[in-house]
């Protein structure tokens, strides 16, 4: 069907929905009447995109003839997580964005463009596509951060995010240039083959490859907000509209970690045949070790002292980046760390977008939740919501029977399997998450043990946000009770990606076209 171009269907549906929304918004005279059609167009686009992932479960990887992308179960898994995060963000925003003075159409178009960039990032198989899709998602997310025109913090956050993101882009281009200079290839698999040969017989030029990889790692550390590249995170998270913050936290992280894992497996295999940062790339493993340790310690440390809920969740997202980086650092020495990362990303998507949706639910009037005290007595105003909040916070803290616990369990057990310095990293992770549970549980304590005030609750008659909350609560609990299905799917996806990286197939040489004559 579609001459092999149907592998782009997940992206095309999103872009089509964005285009239709743009046209409806352009030609409608009464914006109030088209809210629902706009919303359902966006949801429909995401749903169709989700459905069109169907052929890639339990199927061999698909590549179009020009080799720039590869769709496999690994990317399908991440795309599913990203689309779930996008859809939850849409449901939560249904009436929220209008209340803060942002047009729903603008929000949805930018969100869909960002999501399409993320989907492209998970399937990118060469440096050019990798760079372009990262830029597509970054541009859209900068705009989303600054959409709230009534808030100067929104503009400030967007500006900081834009400048730091521009710096990260500079690092990425520099690194890709160095990698291209030393390998002469842009395709990830070809780069992997060249680097493999280069490190088997080093001739001094591998320093360039090391510099390039270092710069690319730095730019990814910027994107996921790992310490010490985290300075934009609190301001951008606080300034952005709350539903956008949730989207930024989960979907950007899922896409960036997907691309990083693909790079680690396909483009940077070391000479022992282990895919991941060991052996020749052991320095990268040490660098990731340090990033992970600093993110876990400082993220949790700063989060404890925050009174502002959004800033607290921003620092908690830095800490979660640290847990995920632990997986990437230890992946070379363990067997299933990549699968654990994928599972953690799925659980993180559900619990964090749920927590941010909860903040939207509990806000009142046009005012966002600011300090933790604004949540006081929430559980007595709405018992079901109190239980939901408790579940999200327990999950973020990593308390059993939630998805967050299973994710942490898989990640930490893989790091302990890897042994040596990774075991110490896992021990550090366990200690910091125990410390971190303090500020998550404080939120639960405030919702239960403080006198409720008489502020009206926004979410009371907003069915979109109720739907988003039910979905995320059910998903979080389901992943905590029965993680096998999702974990196996992640494991198969990673195995498939590793398989496709090991089998080295020479691309058939194309016949030279008649247009250019040879000298």
């Amino acid at each position: 069907m579609f001459w092999g171009y149907d592998i782009f269907l997940p992206v095309v549906w999103l872009l089509l929905a964005a285009g239709i929304i743009l046209l409806i918004d352009l030609f409608s005279d009464e914006p109030d009447k088209v809210q629902m059609p706009l919303f359902f167009t966006a949801i429909g686009g995401a749903l169709l995109s989700f459905v069109s992932l169907n052929p890639y479960w339990n199927a061999p990887p698909v590549q179009p003839h020009f080799n720039a992308v590869q769709v496999d179960q690994f990317s399908a898994y991440l795309m599913a997580a990203i689309l779930v995060g996008t859809a939850i963000s849409m449901f939560a925003s249904l009436s929220y964005v209008r209340r803060i003075g942002v047009s729903l159409a603008d929000f949805l178009i930018t969100l869909l463009l960002a999501a399409s960039g993320m989907l492209l990032l998970t399937v990118s198989n060469d440096l050019i596509m990798l760079f372009l899709s990262i830029e597509l998602l970054s541009f859209s997310v900068y705009v989303l951060t600054g959409l709230n025109s009534r808030s100067s913090r929104s503009a400030e956050g967007a500006m900081k995010y834009f400048i730091m993101g521009g710096l990260a882009t500079g690092f990425m281009v520099m690194g890709m240039g160095a990698i291209y200079a030393v390998t002469g290839e842009v395709g990830l698999r070809e780069i992997g083959r060249r680097l493999f040969a280069l490190f088997a017989q080093p001739d001094g030029s591998e320093i360039m490859a090391v510099l390039g990889m270092g710069a690319v790692l730095i730019s990814f550390a910027f994107k996921v907000g790992a310490v010490p590249f985290h300075s934009w995170v609190p301001d951008a998270y606080e300034g952005a509209p709350t539903t956008v913050t949730g989207f930024m936290a989960v979907a950007v992280k899922a896409a960036a970690f997907g691309a990083l894992i693909r790079l680690a497996i396909v483009a940077f295999p070391d000479n022992a045949g282990v895919q991941g940062f060991t052996g020749d790339f052991g320095w990268a493993s040490w660098a990731l070790w340090a990033l992970s340790a600093m993110s876990m310690v400082l993220g949790n440390w700063f989060a404890i002292s925050q009174r502002n809920v959004k800033r607290m969740l921003a620092y908690s997202s830095i800490a979660h980046s640290g847990y995920l980086l632990m997986g990437i650092a230890s992946a070379g020495a363990s067997t299933e760390a990549y699968a654990a990362i994928l599972f953690y990303l799925l659980a993180y998507t559900l619990m964090t977008s749920g927590a941010f949706a909860m903040l939207v639910y509990a806000s009142s009037g046009g005012k966002d939740i600011e300090s933790v005290d604004d949540l006081r007595g929430l559980a007595w105003k709405k018992p079901a919501v109190g239980i939901g909040m408790a579940i999200f916070m327990f999950s973020l803290a990593g308390i059993p029977l939630t998805g967050g616990f299973m994710g942490k369990y898989f990640l930490f057990s893989q790091a302990i399997d890897a042994g040596g310095r990774f075991m110490w990293l896992a021990i550090l992770g366990i200690c910091t998450s125990i410390v971190g549970s303090f500020y998550y549980l404080r939120v639960v304590a405030v919702t239960y043990f403080r006198e409720p005030d008489d502020r009206p609750i926004h979410g009371r008659d907003d069915w979109g946000i109720k739907f988003a909350l039910s979905l995320t609560v059910l998903g979080t609990v389901y992943l905590g009770i029965s993680p096998t299905w999702a974990y196996n799917a992640a494991r198969e996806g990673v195995a498939q990606l590793q398989q496709s990286a090991v089998v080295v197939v020479e691309a058939p040489r194309k016949a030279p076209p008649a247009l250019v004559e040879k000298p």
Binding site: P64, F66, M129, A178
Partner: protein, 216 residues
């Protein structure tokens, strides 16, 4: 040709250095222009005439002028006395009220932080070392024609490598998807710029229709 190459390279380098160390933003921009022109010359010497022309047209012609407009619209005089960032409400912001102390002359050139300069020079040295260690085939033009790297299919002889037809072949034969994604990227960027700029005009003009109907 070698003389021209070396000359252009030196011009580009000097422009780049001046661009970084100038304190006045306008001078910095003009140095950047010089650097662009030098880079275009380097491209031209490497038989990449199309890239050279694009460099002049797009960077020197459009982007530098855009920078110039931005600088002219903003008040560059305040930049000189902006002062050091101060911490307000747990955020670091620039202090708009800071004035240069009376009698102190603002230096015309800024020198980079020594540590940053050291790291940059170290990276530069490592890269130079690596470049000289690169295999022979990377150093010469010849093997490119026979099928290494970008020209591995032997379809782009060196003379045509940077010409319009060479670039077209690479764009539409090897990387058609990237071309499409660039168009989406530009769409997103333009749309984002409109969305962020629109809100100010929307707020400014919102009361006007009501006034207009009253007049009628």
């Amino acid at each position: 040709m070698e003389v021209l190459f070396v000359f252009c390279a030196i011009v580009a380098l000097i422009g780049g250095v001046l661009c970084v160390v100038q304190r006045n933003a306008i001078y910095s921009l003009l140095s950047l222009l010089v650097s662009f022109a030098g880079t275009a010359g380097v491209f031209f010497c490497l038989d990449a005439s199309f890239v050279a022309v694009s460099q002049i047209l797009i960077y020197a012609g459009a982007i530098a002028v855009l920078f110039l407009f931005v600088l002219m619209f903003t008040d560059t005089r305040t930049v000189l006395g902006m002062g050091t960032p101060r911490v307000v409400d747990s955020r670091a912001v620039f202090n708009p009220d800071a004035k240069p102390e009376a009698g102190t002359r603002v230096k015309r050139f800024v020198l980079p932080n020594p540590l940053a300069a050291l790291i940059s020079l170290g990276v530069l040295a490592a890269m130079l070392f690596a470049i000289f260690k690169l295999p022979e085939r990377f150093g010469k033009f010849g093997p490119l024609v026979e099928g290494e790297g970008l020209a591995r299919d032997g379809i782009v002889p060196m003379v045509q490598f940077g010409s319009a037809s060479g670039i077209t072949l690479v764009t539409f034969q090897d990387f058609p998807l990237a071309f499409e994604v660039v168009s989406i990227l530009i769409f997103a960027a333009v749309l984002g710029a409109v969305l962020l700029a629109k809100r100010h005009t929307a707020q400014a003009t919102e009361p006007e229709p009501a006034v207009a109907t009253e007049d009628e």
